[in-house]
Amino acid sequence: MILPGKRRGKDDPSGKFYLIMGHMSDSPTLSFSDIRRQFPILDKQIHGKPLVYFDNSATTQKPNSVLEAITEYYTKYNANIHRGVHQLAEESTDIWEKSRQTVASFFRAHPEELIVTRNTTEALNLLARGWGESQVKPGEVILVGLSEHHSNFVPWQKLADRQQAKFMTLPIASEGLLDLPAIFALLKEHKNQLRVISIQQASNTLGSLMDISAVSQMLKDLKIRDQVLLSVDAAQSAAHQPINFKTWDVDAVSFSGHKMYGPMGIGGLLVKSKRLAEFEPVLYGGGMISTVLPEETTYAEDVQDRFTAGTPDVASLYGLAAACDFLKEIGWPAILAHEEELTQYALDQLKKLPEITIVGPQNMRDEAGKQQRIGAISFLYQQVHAHDVAQILDRHGVAVRSGQHCTMPLHVSQGWLATTRASFGVYNTKSEVDTLISALKDVKRVFGRQVKN
């Protein structure tokens, strides 16, 4: 990260970042062990065993550069932004602006297209209320995927209630991918009333990648692309798939910092400019106004200000910018290659256990060689409840998630009481997958043994 117009001195965060990474060049090559060493929490022991952190879909761990960015902000740059003439306020505002630029450009978006939020849930709520309440009319149709996370399901369901619109779900095919022919038929049937489609880029339960570009193309073929808000929930995918907001024909993308090696409490909503023009602010107060008088209040002219009310979490945004730089350092080719190799290995090992049924795509790539999933693998364990599986895995230091992963519509539609999910990050290894497998064999031993009556 090179801050334009700044020399790389010892107090310059980007310079320090490069020192931490052990290189002083602009594009260093990182070894895997370099990457893993950046995460101090991975040295933690769980019940006397090394931590095997396979819950990255829930939240990711943070590298040193992110932790240090946050501390550095509070020790060197902390002041309220936009509101002061003094030097510290100037520096803090600079950090805020530059971090916005870094985060927006990570997604190939313009800073004016980025609304900083707390997380994906807040972004989607903001989209549903800020855009939906003035744009969606009675009788219009809102479509979401059946496998959506509750945060991309409930806001739209409630918007439909409020606006007297129709709320419907998109059919998914086996393995959790979009059923494109069925979806096209649905879009055609409702083409005159269709107003919103909101889909996850990757399912947090199934790991399946949704072909959103195909849906975008369908809308164009039906000549209704402009009338429909096409929203993407990128919570799961932001750290696993490169997003080019400039060339991707969608209207809005929501993401969470904490799922992409950044801190909790920060995220964003990317909105194409023409859609932003249709937005109404949802949160009112300081920072988003132009004039405030008893008779009337007007909103800030600057789009970036209009949708940020109150003091934002500058430190966390700075941390998120450091996370973006961390990912840029590794580079997408390395991230994708590592994830593919690790996930396919895990799928292959899991398939050898007869008690286990993987839900979602069984392989990284489909028959045509196209990538169809990310490294989030959920499975059923024959005759053992997901909670019990997770509990026994925990005894071995392996952290997974069990339950419905905030995807109750999906679980109920498929008749799954609960599933267990292992999800990978940039620091996970094949050896850790081997630990998972042997821990899963322990589940069989515990539940399969004869008990005294």
């Binding site: 509990q391 339950g403 419905q404 009481l417």
Partner: protein
């Protein structure tokens, strides 16, 4: 650390006591914890003093929820309905033969009692869900 899956608990999980349903005059209630994936239906017979004379339950869930239902239902026969409703979590945990249970498993252990809490003694002969 307690072995959560000791023989006693696994036995109650694999051979749950009072598993099934009751015929005749009874009160029933259901409790589901869909976000975890646990669900239970309880049938209870009460005498005029509100004492449980018979109990049966059916459900699907984790080992802790099912074992706790089995263990507590065994104890519940002969107890006033009120006593079962007011049963504190640490008593349930103790009945399971454990010293403690993690925060995340408390709801599992509590499922049966939670279902019982939905039953009113005055509901005799009617079902309450």
């Amino acid at each position: 650390m307690d072995d959560l899956y000791q023989d006693f608990i696994l036995d109650h999980y694999k051979n749950p006591r009072n598993f099934g349903h009751l015929d005749g005059e009874k009160v029933s209630s259901e409790m589901t914890n869909l976000s975890c994936g646990d669900g239970i239906k309880v049938d209870v017979k009460l005498d005029d003093q509100g004492i449980i004379t018979d109990v049966a339950w059916q459900g699907e869930g984790c080992a802790i929820s099912m074992a706790a239902a089995s263990v507590v239902s065994e104890w519940a026969v002969g107890q006033p309905l009120k006593a079962v409703k007011e049963m504190p979590i640490d008593e349930i945990v103790a009945k399971l033969g454990l010293e403690q249970i993690s925060h995340s498993r408390m709801k599992c252990a509590y499922l049966f009692v939670h279902a019982i809490q939905k039953i009113e003694a005055t509901d005799k002969g009617r079902s309450s869900s």
